[in-house]
Symmetry: C2
């Protein structure tokens, strides 16, 4: 049963006629076509009992057809009214009363109001998100293959970074060398702006790569990801330049133990919150609990914002095919920051990481 | 009157108590702080009669404070319930019945449902979008300065591209050289993935840079933008490698005339649709009207998706401070594609472009 058929089955089971898919990533997952339409409308309309259609900007319809999508595609020009045209296509297929399911975390209030104005007596209360999140959470062997390739390029990116690191060189220059090396190999896209942060700068867990010069005798944090055929990699390494102080060395040791122990514990049967606790307990016992101020990990696949979320309160039992990060961090303001991260996929007996760069403390520069 | 005060005045005039600002770009515009929170919650809450607050992930609160935001900031941890915490802060300030205004084009149906569950008797029907779009549409001198700097870097990017162009070289390699040159100058971010498309590939107006080798005797299209302090540039040039065929040369000539004529016509008093028509008439008269399948331009500033939209049906009268692209294109499938674009700001008497790279056909490679 293909993905569209799964949605049709779900519509039938949930007494819905039509699913309106508005998240560009979900559209890519289901159709193979990706585009960020920005303020324009791109919508996948899935009917319970008939073939789906894609609706989008006229200047995308050729690309949609070439992407392998074999069902109908309808385009609109900038001065046309997309929601009227979508409604016309729906009415042409389905004259009875129509109930909709929508992606509530993605669809804007504006789009919902536009859809309601075309179908004033329809019901839009049912949410597709949980079903889609469940579908996307368990990766197929084909998806795992793409994630492995993205991971391989992340290892390559770490190597180019480490070779470029030197005390006194701006963080931004190291990012430039890494990005250039990837692009020369036709890896054009990072999954997010790379974070390269030296010394105290790394204590800002959501800081950005800056023109700050890499300190000598300090730790440097690298959080990087690439994209391969719509699937991402995401990993973090922290290395040493010169001889970091004892406090830096201590938080590295604690963070590494937390990461390795949690990664060892990630297997079918453990819950997400139990796994978070494995790492958190080690950091808390070492006295750094207050400095680990985020969840242990996030689900990933087509983005780094998928399920499962590895955090307190999530009692989800891990199963084969789930892909997520294990990324404990210790950030001590004005001292240093350490984060160590691999993304893994759960296998029948344990897990496998997508990145293989060593996590033992390395010295460069 | 500062921007927050303008919103407070609007709330008062529109009988609303609170504005919920959810679009990260709007939050940056109003607060100076930018972050893409992805699936996490970042919200700016503006009260009619008291100071606003920012609410976001705990790992962002330090960065928010350092960004210069002097009003309260509240953070939440990943396992906490952000909408309950936001509601607690609102209740602590305002115990009467509360009516909200929201950003309907940005706020998701899910967030609206979460907000409504905290304030079940409140009204959320009023839309902030038009007021905010109007505010953002007229740029201040300070904003124009940032756009000029971003434009200067776009001219630099064109120069590095043109120097790197060579028949037989992959499009992606030219993009790598351009990106590397920018990053070595600490310009870390493009406003969108650069489009470098050679020959027939340029006939896909929303295609992407690929590993296709640059053809000899063909046109090559470059659509590029950079970011400077949150403000973007965006421009397109089409150049020749070798000796393109007569058809390519003809559509270049027509497109250039359309672009120059429209840019000359852009001044206070003309409407957006009239300006679109200036360019479209030239292209239609030359017989290529069907191959110009998008609007003439989009508003720009903090993104390339702002107002005004320069298209049929938009009777908005252009005014000083408006910033937008003028980008006619002619795309003939399997033959060639040409687009020529400058972004400009309307001045008291006419307009000024942000990019100055020549638009006369240039030969490289």
């Amino acid at each position: 049963m293909d993905k569209i058929e799964k949605i049709q089955r779900w519509l039938s089971d949930n007494n819905r006629d039509i699913a309106l898919i508005s998240d560009p990533k979900t559209i890519q997952y289901l159709s193979g076509f990706y585009s960020d339409p920005n303020e324009r409308v791109l919508l996948l309309v899935v009917f319970k009992n008939s073939d789906p259609f894609l609706f989008g900007p006229a200047l995308e319809t050729q690309a949609i057809k070439e992407s392998g999508w074999s069902n109908p595609v309808y385009g609109y020009l900038d001065h046309e009214k997309p929601w009227e045209m979508i409604a016309d296509q729906i009415h042409a297929r389905n004259t009875a009363e129509i109930n909709f399911a929508i992606e509530k975390a993605n669809m804007s209030v504006e789009w919902l109001e536009l859809a309601k104005s075309e179908f004033p007596t329809s019901d839009f209360s049912v949410n597709l998100d949980q079903m889609l999140d469940q579908m996307r959470m368990i990766k197929s062997p084909d998806e795992i293959e793409k994630l492995k390739i993205a991971g391989k390029w992340d290892d390559f990116a770490f190597k180019t970074c480490f070779e470029a690191v030197k005390a006194g060189r701006p963080e931004s220059r190291v990012a430039a060398e890494m990005s250039y090396a990837l692009m020369k190999n036709s890896i054009m896209e990072l999954s997010f702006p790379a974070l390269i942060q030296s010394g105290t700068h790394a204590a800002e867990p959501h800081g950005a790569t800056s023109d700050k010069k890499i300190e000598n005798n300090a730790l440097v944090l690298f959080d990087l990801g690439t994209v391969w055929d719509g699937y991402i990699s995401d990993a973090t390494r922290t290395i040493a330049v010169g001889k970091p102080d004892d406090k830096s060395m201590d938080i590295y040791k604690v963070c590494l133990e937390a990461q390795l122990t949690a990664q060892e514990a990630a297997k079918p049967g453990i819950t997400a919150e139990e796994l978070d606790k494995v790492a958190r307990d080690i950091i808390t016992k070492a006295g750094y609990g207050d400095y680990f101020n985020h969840r242990l990990g996030h689900g990933m696949g087509m983005s780094e914002h998928e399920f499962p979320s590895i955090m307190e309160g999530n009692q989800l039992v891990l199963q084969p095919g789930m892909c997520f990060s294990i990324e404990p961090g210790i950030y001590i303001p004005n001292v240093a920051g350490v984060r160590i991260e691999d993304c893994i996929h759960i296998t029948e007996n344990g897990n496998e990481p997508f990145t293989h760069t060593t996590k033992e403390l390395q010295y460069f520069g």
